[in-house]
């Protein structure tokens, strides 16, 4: 298993050139990704050109940037200049980004090499990657099962060793869930910690970009690289990440919300989480049962807000400035403006996207706004109070990421509501803008289990410090 530090060492000691390393990973993707389908596209030309530049710097003994030569992948909702960016949708099948997202640019400046773009549920709408217009990604631990979603391709690409790290986007669990299902580390940062400029929007009060990695330390390095204020994203905060150092949880107060261990949680997951918490107690942590009473409403609140904001955000796909247009299909004859809108969106969007846009349109329409959106925003305030209250007594909140183990492809596609239930433990965090991490804690039936840690705003350092203790205890294995 390669990490950022192991690659840094190999490159700086000239055991391997950046170009050879990039070629090795590109070859691995070509050979094994046919089965997994983590990638929608690779970007060999740009990667090899940038690798040659790193090798030139090594040859001329210039100082190397911190991530020099580290191969990574990007969720296909994040723009990289000159590379196709589809968001998993037919709507953007032919769209090539004309500029870099801020996060892409920061990684480029740090010397990381983009191998390609990873598969996802269309526009981030889903929990399994089955809603991609280009076919599902398979879980590297069991190819008959889903990798989680929506950033399933990113998680699978890291778990399968096709790149060293990846960036995804988490609106209601889209980083943490696939990280848990694929046995890798995934961080959803505090809202405002990471720029969304150049990232295709789903629900703007919830979306946040974050890393996937094999180790907690790698996730921390990537987070430190991408975080911070960006003049191109008004929601970013003046914030510089400072690591706490040390790997211990002595005197750390961990809250165990009873609502996260109630009916509906798979007993194997529950056992594994409880056992890990016990081990943290042995390491000096103080466990305390807490209650977050409004969490029971979070899923319904989340889906009202998600669909409402999505219906507004996705209004931009009008077939005029970019994306699919029925006008190119000349058998249509000449459409009027309304006809063009209707056909563009009727043909360009998949089922789940249509479903959510219509739910959001309904929730925001005249006569329903107060009952749905406004009510949801008020319950969101209650939820915020719950977490504020809890954090008066504890430093960290811990629980499962998912109520189930990775499920079979096709198992939940017939009933959209059953797919939404997968998000039950992940959505509260997005609604109240908190940071949370998914860290592997072992397996059941040879399928990975993730534990979720939630900290106060901008306290990612506490997440990383504690996750490193868990990593040491659980010694996670990855797919070879």
């Amino acid at each position: 298993m390669e990490t950022i530090l192991s690659i840094r060492e190999k490159i700086s000691k000239r055991e391997i050139s950046a170009k050879e390393l990039a070629q090795t990973y590109l070859k691995k993707i070509e050979e094994q990704d046919k089965d997994i389908h983590a990638f929608l596209a690779t970007a060999p030309e740009i990667a090899l050109k940038e690798a040659e530049e790193i090798d030139r710097k090594i040859f001329q003994k210039e100082q190397l940037p911190p991530l020099a030569g580290v191969p990574y992948s990007l969720k296909d909702a994040i723009c990289a200049k000159g590379v196709r960016c589809t968001a998993g949708s037919r709507m953007l099948e032919q769209y090539t980004a004309a500029f870099d997202a801020t996060v892409t640019q920061r990684l480029r400046q740090a010397g990381a090499l983009l191998m390609g773009k990873t598969n996802m549920d269309e526009f981030g709408m889903g929990a399994s990657t089955e809603n991609s217009a280009f076919g599902p990604t398979k879980n590297p631990f069991d190819l008959s099962r889903v990798p989680g979603g929506s950033s399933g391709g990113s998680a699978a690409s890291v778990a399968a060793g096709e790149c060293v790290f990846s960036l995804g986007e988490d609106t209601g669990g889209s980083i943490r869930l696939p990280a848990a299902f694929c046995g890798v580390v995934g961080l959803k940062p505090t809202y405002g910690a990471v720029s969304r400029y150049g990232v295709i929007a789903l629900a703007s009060s919830l979306d946040q970009v974050g890393p996937f990695a094999n180790t907690v330390e790698d996730a921390e390095i990537i987070f430190a690289t991408i975080a911070g204020r960006d003049p191109f994203d008004a929601t970013t905060v003046d914030f510089e990440y400072m690591a706490e150092g040390g790997i211990d949880c002595h005197n750390l107060r961990i809250g165990i919300p009873k609502e996260y261990f109630a009916q509906g949680l798979d007993s194997q997951i529950k056992d594994r989480i409880v056992k890990t918490l016990d081990e943290l107690k042995h390491e000096g942590a103080q466990l305390k049962e807490i209650s977050l009473p409004s969490v029971q409403y979070a899923l319904a609140v989340y889906y009202i807000i998600n669909t409402s904001e999505a219906s507004a955000n996705l209004a931009r796909y009008d077939g005029i400035r970019y994306g699919y247009s029925p006008n190119k299909e000349k058998q249509n004859g000449e459409l009027d403006l309304m006809g063009q809108y209707l056909q563009t969106r009727g043909r360009g969007f998949g089922s789940e996207v249509k479903r959510r846009i219509m739910l959001g349109t309904y929730a925001l329409s005249a006569g329903y706004y107060d009952a749905f959106y406004l009510k949801a925003q008020k319950i969101r305030t209650l939820l915020k109070h719950d977490f504020e209250q809890a954090f008066k007594e504890v430093d960290l909140i811990a629980g499962p990421v998912s109520p189930f183990l990775p499920f079979r492809i096709g198992e939940k596609t017939a009933d959209p509501l059953s797919m939404y239930l997968v998000d039950v433990y992940t959505v509260p965090v997005n609604l109240v803008a908190l940071p949370a991490i998914s860290v592997p804690v072992g397996k059941a039936q040879n399928l990975p289990i993730g534990m979720q840690l939630i900290a106060q705003h901008f306290k990612e350092s506490v997440l990383f410090r504690t996750a490193k203790v868990i990593e040491r205890i659980c010694n996670p294995r990855m797919v070879s």
Binding site: A315, D318, Q340, A433
Partner: protein, 96 residues
């Protein structure tokens, strides 16, 4: 259960063309999800302010200046449009 006409009305507001089968499918699916949303009706939120900001903080702003963009990028942006003419994006007539 929402009616077929309501589904058609929402679809038109959302500018999405639906087939007959889709209308029927969405009528059932949207109804069951809206029923789930309606479980929130029972919660008393009187006196509670809606949450309008995820985090209370000063907004990051930049100066309102025209940025120079290179010709190649401008061309790429125009090339992204499905229909162009003489370096402009072609749109439908709105007034007829």
């Amino acid at each position: 259960m929402i009616s077929k006409e309501e589904v058609q009305h929402i679809a038109k507001l959302a500018r999405i063309e639906l087939s007959e089968e889709e209308i029927q499918k969405f009528q059932e699916e949207l109804s069951s999800i809206l029923d789930y949303f309606a479980t929130l009706n029972a919660i008393d939120v009187s006196g509670i302010e809606p949450m309008t900001h995820s985090i209370v903080t000063k907004q990051t702003t930049r100066q309102d200046l025209v940025c120079k963009t290179d010709a190649a990028t401008i061309q790429k942006l125009i090339d992204s449009a499905p229909e162009t003419k003489d370096g402009f994006i072609r749109v439908k007539a709105i007034f007829s």
